[in-house]
């Protein structure tokens, strides 16, 4: 800024409710009084209900579908299957490899085979039972290694390896003075958003278009895929964001969108659908279960010299975002540490398990668990404190990833570690409340509880990678003294609407900010994922507002004969060389202004065959410390406290940042100690909240935190995305704390290598790292 400030400048107060303040959500009032409309709350006069028939087999040949009895049931309006798909019977975020309805073969338990529209849900359910499908059961591919080694025939025309990526950097043959290795396992986690999938589709009067209200993460990408499946031009498919009850990656793919839209077109009536929890578990993608081998090479003092790794990600039956998840995993193998040499191999493969795709921290969650467990092993092997070995190797701005990419962002890794460790340890528990014991009342042997402490650190890429231009669009209108913002950014609960409101107030100096509906009536915003919306859509709102600011200042300069370049908006005033001349509200009172802007991040590139290239856009860093109480005999544990310091760039809304951190910690804690989708022979065993556990309020410890605010000059507002970073290194930190507790308890066991930790992993662990088998 080169603006000269005149000596008679008066201090102009900042606008209330602008950037940096803990502004409350504009949708919050409706959410606390029950009037906020979620996608499942919309009903339309004359609507039909829809329901989906799904495969009971992980792999089978589809021989015939007889819908005659279902169609004849009174109240049934339509029964559709693959033959009724007018466009391409395939969808997917990266490859269109997943059929709307199965043809010839089903590839996972839960794959849609047919769908029904009827007068009410009960009639739908009866009709579903009347559809007769004959299958020839085939042997499923359930072992990811078999997908790689070619010993199992192809289960999909696109083959069994979705993507293979190798990274080779520096001296491939280097052997460190110290080497440590291990194999790590991450279970399949579910996003478990509370608001189940729901949508309402309304056909156009001419029957050649459809309007869809749906809870999703990316309206325009949904539209692209839906239009292709329906055989319609994209402008004949219009989407509006229904109220979204959480997402976390699980709404980035198509679930019921095409089914309800097609049923609306076929029946000529509005069609509404809502998944049950059981259907939701099989109806959206999950976090990839992974097996990761790593070998770290270091000097005797702990200086990291080389990382070797092999990643195997089970992508399930269809590709979804597996290739992006794989790239995130392999390119983050070194963690937030300097490392010049690497040999990394990664596979994302197809099996007959449930399809996997995006979930908060995609790919990096898996990589971080492995590299942080390795850093703990390395610390032991080098005789260095686990905190100090991380500080010793901590990445700084300008250091390179194993892809050769230089980290250009602010990179306060050592500071994250130091500030995390400086946070206060938990207060002693008051009294003997049962919630203070692992497992709660009556489940813990007296006196055997041991406390442990562990820590871990992460690096997470922000925005999309590998040459993808995931731009965002926003329109700013100023009329009647108010700001009206329009964008297609999916508000999924993270609070983008709050940030957008704050941006507009600060940029324009007008307190009243309203929103147009979030729909496809404006350009794409990209996905609400990859921690990208504050940066990308925030950037678009900034640009749109600044376009309007320019117009306002032009008018004021012309009206008042002032030098345009001397004018600015400060607080709620237009200032001339820092001196207030007119309130913004007054300057705009008789006029209207409008500007639409697109925000693009700098270009990235694809990796070459040696895995080299500037494939990522930006990075954020976080450290976590966990304090855990463990009952070694019963294998029960309680997380007592989480401490974290996070590199947020700038906290645009401190209240929202705290919410993202606490919520992210809860999901990382869930992965560490309880959350896993169990499949046996390709069949999910726990598709309910009775059997798939997520943390309750009683499971969640206090989170103490430090926000590290070093504004990133590359970010439009200096702010980094804060959505994913909090859920990544908390998982290995908790596991390290359990290890520490077991060491203190005198247990001679190998480090824990899998999440979630099960009771038997603790109670039945042995020195060689194996777990005794339960039962026989």
């Amino acid at each position: 800024m080169s603006t000269t400030i005149s000596s008679d400048r008066t201090e102009v107060p900042a606008i209330t409710g602008g950037l940096g303040e803990p502004v409350l959500r504009p949708d919050g009032g409706a959410k606390v009084d029950g009037s906020f409309e979620f996608s499942s709350d919309r009903s339309i006069e004359g609507e039909l209900w829809a329901m989906t028939l799904r495969s009971p087999h992980p792999r089978a040949r589809l021989l015939s579908i007889d819908t005659s009895a279902a169609s004849a049931l009174p109240g049934v309006a339509s029964v559709i299957s693959a033959v009724d798909v007018p466009g391409i019977n395939g969808f997917g975020l990266i490859a269109s490899d997943q059929p709307v309805f199965a043809v010839d073969e089903v590839r996972f338990v839960g794959e849609p085979v047919a769908a029904v529209a009827a007068s009410d849900p009960e009639t739908c359910a009866r009709a579903i039972e009347l559809i007769v499908v004959t299958y020839e059961i085939l042997q499923p591919l359930l072992d990811a290694e078999q997908a790689i080694d070619g010993s199992f025939g192809s289960i999909h025309p696109d083959g069994n390896v979705i993507r293979h990526q190798r990274i080779v950097r520096g001296d491939e043959d280097l052997v460190g003075e110290i080497t440590v290795e291990g194999t790590y396992e991450i279970g399949m986690q579910d996003q478990a958003f509370l608001g189940l999938e729901a949508a309402v589709a309304v056909p156009d009067d001419d029957g050649a278009g459809v309007e869809l209200l749906v809870a999703t993460q990316w309206l325009h990408e949904d539209r692209r895929q839906i239009a292709a499946c329906l055989g319609l031009e994209e402008d004949r498919v219009r989407l509006t964001l229904g109220g979204v009850g959480g997402a976390f990656g699980g709404r980035e793919d198509i679930s019921l969108q095409v089914h309800v839209s097609l049923l609306a077109l076929v029946t000529g009536r509005p069609v509404r659908a809502a998944y049950s929890r059981a259907e939701s578990f099989i109806g959206h993608v999950h976090r990839h279960p992974a097996t990761i081998w790593m070998r770290h090479h270091a000097d005797r003092d702990g200086t990291l010299r080389k990382v070797e790794a092999r990643f195997v990600l089970d992508g399930g039956a269809y590709a979804s975002t597996s290739s992006a998840v794989l790239i995130n995993a392999v390119t983050h193998a070194q963690g937030p540490y300097r490392c010049e040499n690497a040999v990394v191999d990664g596979y994302a493969v197809r099996t007959n398990h449930l399809p996997c795709g995006a979930m908060r921290g995609f790919g990096v969650v898996q990589a971080c668990f492995a590299h942080e467990r390795q850093m703990d092993r390395l610390a032991v092997a080098c005789g260095v404190d686990p905190v100090e070995i991380r500080v010793l190797n901590a990445m700084e701005t300008g250091d390179r990833l194993i892809t050769g990419q230089r980290v250009e962002n602010v990179a306060p890794v050592a500071r994250c570690i130091r500030e995390t460790m400086a946070l206060p340890m938990p207060e002693p528990d008051v009294g003997d409340h049962v919630l203070a014991l692992p497992g709660g009342a009556g489940l813990t042997a007296d006196g055997s509880v041991v406390r442990g402490v562990g820590m871990a650190v992460s690096i997470k890429n922000l925005m999309y990678s590998e040459g993808f231009d995931d731009y965002s669009t926003a329109r700013c209108v100023v009329r009647d003294g108010r700001v009206l913002l329009k964008f297609a950014t999916a508000e999924v609960g993270q609070g983008f609407v709050t940030i957008a409101m704050q941006i507009a107030r600060t940029e324009l100096g007008l307190p009243e900010v309203l929103f147009e509906p979030i729909d496809t009536g404006v350009g794409s915003a990209g996905s609400t994922s990859a921690s990208r919306q504050t940066w990308m859509s925030g950037g678009a709102v900034v640009e749109a507002c600044r376009g309007v600011v320019g117009q306002i200042l032009d008018v004021v300069a012309a009206d008042r004969g002032l030098q345009r370049e001397d004018l600015r908006i400060e607080g709620e005033w237009i200032t001339d060389l820092g001196v207030p001349v007119v309130a913004v509200s007054e300057a705009v009172s008789e006029r209207s202004f409008e500007h639409t802007a697109e925000y693009h991040h700098p270009e990235t590139e694809e990796l070459d065959e040696r895995g080299q290239g500037d494939c990522h856009t930006a990075f954020a860093f976080t450290a976590h410390r966990a304090v855990v109480d463990v009952d070694p005999d019963l294998g029960l544990l309680r997380v007592v406290q989480i401490a974290t310091a996070q590199d947020v760039g700038r906290a645009l809304n401190p209240l929202s940042v705290v919410g993202q951190i606490e919520g992210g910690v809860a999901q990382g804690l869930g992965l560490a100690v309880m959350e896993e989708i169990i499949q046996t022979d390709g069949v999910i065993r726990n598709a309910s909240f009775t059997d798939y556990l997520i943390p309750t309020i009683a499971d969640m410890p206090p989170v103490v935190m430090s926000l590290i605010e070093e504004p990133d000059p590359r970010a439009p507002l200096g702010a980094k995305g804060v959505g994913e970073p909090p859920c990544i290194s908390v998982t290995p930190a908790i596991v390290a704390a359990v290890d520490d507790a077991l060491r203190r308890a005198g247990r001679q066991i190998a480090p824990l290598t899998r999440v979630p930790i099960r009771p038997q992993d603790i109670a039945l662990a042995s020195p060689d790292g194996s777990t005794a088998t339960l039962g026989s």
């Binding site: 979204v244 919410g659 919520g663 909240f689 309750t696 309020i697």
Partner: protein, 161 residues
């Protein structure tokens, strides 16, 4: 257990709703949402695990997904839509101020459950709040702000006495 009838009357937030054509076994949640037009109560698990559907029946917090609609005919039912006008407006405000709301899907059930908790225990300790709300799942917030909202409300009410 009362006999399940296809017609009944539900008194919700002080208003009587004549409900006809109930399916046998229809839950109170479905009746509230689809027949009374009160969609504030949410369904997220259909088996009493998540608490999103929590309502008060004669002052007691219950999962409306597990309650037969016909079995509460004649009872006083309070849903999230009625909490504000029956003394819980400060609690709703506290949720908003504390940042206890993100996606908001769990919020109606939590508001009702917290309202019931504060009715039976106006001065809960931290652990009593955690115990009292352990039946309500939230996937966004990690619960920290929710605890704060409930404790703040109790504190505010105490200071206003």
């Amino acid at each position: 257990m009362r006999r399940v009838e296809s017609e009944c009357s539900l008194t919700v937030n002080g208003v009587e709703h004549a409900v006809s054509g109930l399916h046998p076994g229809e839950s109170l949640l479905d009746a509230l949402r689809e027949r009374c037009g009160l969609r504030g109560s949410k369904g997220a698990c259909e088996e009493g695990e998540c608490g999103s559907c929590t309502v008060l029946v004669d002052g007691q917090a219950v999962c409306s997904c597990l309650t037969l609609a016909a079995s509460v005919s004649g009872c006083s039912i309070v849903t999230v839509e009625g909490v504000g006008s029956s003394g819980g407006a400060d609690l709703q405000e506290a949720f908003l101020r504390a940042g206890a709301v993100q996606c908001g899907f769990c919020t109606p059930g939590l508001i009702v459950a917290a309202d019931a908790l504060l009715s039976r225990n106006p001065h809960p300790s931290l652990n009593e709040v955690r115990e009292g709300l352990a039946g309500n799942l939230c996937r966004c917030t990690g619960y920290g702000r929710i605890v704060e909202a409930v404790l703040d409300t109790a504190e505010q009410r105490r200071s206003q006495r």
